[in-house]
């Protein structure tokens, strides 16, 4: 853990212009990713978890403004890279896997070509070597009979197989960081397990860092080392999995954990978080969770809580974190 972070983000803001409105999707997110670390970014839809990661890579669509105080990846300052240089980082040093394998592959391009293209674009390997490596990658992600499947089109594969192809595309150039944006959300549980086990094998074999964006705490806690909870475009809690499990300090984290329905919940009374997450049309000036929060005090409606350190590696953005921790339940 003495290594310097692979990725350091400080005060990331992302705004969308939609019609006459501005949507404040990400409002000052800061975090780091260490080499070899797996970070789970969890939150509900609209929490800004995908936008945070994609805006770093310039992959957000629409009329979007990104502001960030610092975005350091290895030796590069991502904010100072030209478009050309950023393209070079994408796919070579940072790989991305998206949520929906049914639409994320080009329907009129052979799957083998789609994997090779990642290598050729970065001059990672000459065509002959890239072809052989594609076959190796297919084997590694668990696509049987790769040589024959090389020339097939995406529609000839099942959803799980397509997600494996996406994985092969993302790791083709051996990136040091893999961003997985809800990679198993669209899949059945058995297929989810297969994809996650492939991902975990890849991660340990290559010492690759993974940022796992997910709304599924089961996936995040079992796969990741550290968890980042996002709410309304801000990090509300950042903790190692052990702390996250034992001492969640933000009322929202607690609420989400309480909302998880697992086998064995039968007969238990449910405690959903009341209300729904806000859509921000103005930058937040107070705690955005306060209206739904059982711990809220007048201070929460007035002052924006900053991320502060509770203990080593455990940060929370809540005025009342100590009270939350003391509260048993």
């Amino acid at each position: 853990m003495a290594d310097p972070p692979l990725l350091t983000i400080d005060a990331l803001h992302t705004y969308f212009r939609r019609g006459t409105e501005t949507i404040y999707a990400v409002n000052g997110v800061s975090f780091t990713v260490l080499p070899g670390e797996a970070v789970g970014v969890v939150g509900e839809s609209g929490s800004g978890k995908s936008v945070t990661m994609l805006s770093l890579l310039g992959l957000v669509r629409g009329r979007v403004t990104v502001r960030v105080a610092q975005a350091q990846f290895k030796s590069w300052d991502l904010t100072r890279l030209s478009r050309r240089q950023l393209e070079d980082v994408r796919g070579r040093d940072i790989g991305v896997v998206f949520q929906d394998p049914m639409t994320s592959l080009n329907p009129v391009m052979r799957v083998g070509d789609q994997v090779m293209e990642a290598m050729l674009a970065h001059q990672y390997a000459p065509p002959q070597a890239a072809f052989r490596r594609t076959l190796d990658l297919f084997r590694e992600v668990g696509i049987p009979d790769g040589a024959a499947r090389f020339r097939a089109y995406p529609h000839e594969f099942s959803g799980g197989m397509r997600q494996r192809i996406m994985l092969a595309v993302a790791i083709a150039c051996e990136p040091e960081l893999l961003i997985a944006d809800e990679p198993t959300t669209a899949l059945d549980v058995t297929v989810q397990m297969q994809i996650l086990s492939v991902l975990q094998a890849l991660r340990s074999r290559r010492r690759m860092s993974v940022v796992m964006i997910t709304h599924d705490f089961g996936v995040a806690t079992n796969f990741c080392d550290r968890i980042l909870v996002l709410y309304a475009g801000r990090v509300v809690e950042s903790a190692a999995v052990t702390d996250f499990l034992a001492r969640p300090a933000h009322p929202y984290t607690r609420g989400l954990k309480g909302s998880i329905l697992e086998i064995g919940s039968r007969g238990r009374s449910l405690t959903p978080i009341a209300g729904s997450p806000p859509t921000l049309t103005a930058p937040p000036t107070a705690c955005t969770f306060a209206p739904r929060c059982p711990f809220a005090v007048p201070q929460c409606a007035e002052e924006l809580p900053q991320l502060r350190t509770l203990s080593a590696g455990h940060q929370v953005a809540c005025h009342r974190a100590e009270e939350v921790l003391d509260h048993v339940g």
């Binding site: 197989m161 059945d188 397990m193 089961g218 034992a246 989400l256 954990k257 909302s259 697992e262 919940s265």
Partner: protein, 319 residues
């Protein structure tokens, strides 16, 4: 279960589709019974045919074989027209409420229309019942003038529920009603469904791929694989003693949030994928993925047999 009169009884129902001149046996001789006021959970992966069973059960799709008896009416013997007056008693809510609502109709008009179809009450009474239903499902009464695209997924699902409640159903088929929602919203909808059942005495056929949700809501669980029932049992029995290897696989594939200090779950890949329903394996449909399979499994089709009263398993090896 045996003590109560069943409101819905599905018997050996089958459905074949013809796709590109190939026959797809989507549902093969599925039987299940929903007692009045109870919930039957129907579990399976995508492509297992579980949604088709739901539609067959209430006669939205004509069955290729077998029958479905609802409140004593054999739906397989009835024309679509003859079923219409029965429809108010058997409702369905969908996974994607946005797709099931007309984009050109306000959600208030959609709920109103449900009553208008069955000529329930005067127009005035219908509108006031719409107001009452909003309250019932936890929506503000101002929502009636909104169009579907203006609402969130959770709100839309509540609208869908209000619309099916509008006609006083006895049975509601819930087709993955919470799958598209965020966890905290999922919980709200599940809670709502539970409350409505307790208050109104509804019966549910609850279709889902999410075992935890099914366990929470159901009294009986039916597990379906490649269009066939592989295991069915009262909910406690099924989760206490899952006896079909496929049921075990489904349960083991769920990633749970570990208790503090407990070890993490190993991420080990289960074998194989669901085979093409066009070419299901010979013998036991699951043998190609089964860790316990023996020679017999690839040759002989197992029968659904009771290993306990009310606990049925379709496996040669189950004891």
């Amino acid at each position: 279960m045996s003590g109560e009169a069943p409101i819905l009884s599905v018997q050996d129902i089958s459905k074949d589709f013809v796709v590109n001149r190939r026959v797809l046996h989507a549902v093969r001789r599925v039987s299940l019974t929903v007692p009045a006021g109870r919930t039957v959970g129907l579990v399976g992966e995508s492509g297992s045919g579980k949604s088709t069973v739901g539609r067959l059960a209430i006669g939205l799709l004509p069955a290729t074989g077998g029958r479905s008896v609802f409140q004593g009416h054999d739906l397989s013997q009835m024309s679509a027209r003859a079923m219409r007056p029965l429809r108010h008693a058997m409702q369905i809510i969908f996974q994607d409420p946005q797709a099931s609502l007309s984009p050109r109709m306000t959600v208030g008009a959609a709920v109103y229309d449900a009553m208008a179809i069955h000529r329930l009450g005067t127009p005035k009474e219908r509108w006031s019942r719409v107001e009452m239903l909003w309250e019932r499902v936890g929506l503000p009464s101002s929502i009636g003038t909104a169009y579907p695209f203006e609402l969130s997924g959770g709100q839309l699902q509540r609208v869908g529920i209000a619309r099916s409640l509008a006609v006083n159903p006895a049975l509601v088929v819930c087709d993955e009603p919470v799958s598209a929602l965020d966890v905290s919203i999922q919980l709200q909808i599940i809670q709502l469904l539970k409350t409505l059942q307790d208050d109104l005495g509804l019966s549910y056929l609850f279709i889902s791929h999410n075992l935890a949700v099914v366990e929470y809501l159901s009294d009986t669980v039916v597990v379906i694989y490649l269009g066939e029932v592989v295991e069915t049992a009262p909910v406690e029995a099924l989760f206490r003693r899952p006896s079909h290897p496929y049921t075990r696989l489904l349960i083991d594939s769920i990633l749970r949030v570990p208790a503090p200090g407990a070890p993490l779950q190993p991420l080990t890949a289960p074998v194989g994928e669901m085979p093409s329903p066009f070419a299901p394996p010979v013998g036991c449909a699951f043998h190609s993925r089964c860790p316990l399979a023996v020679d017999r499994c690839s040759q002989e089709v197992p029968t659904l047999r009771a290993i306990d009263p009310e606990h049925w398993v379709k496996c040669h090896l189950a004891d």
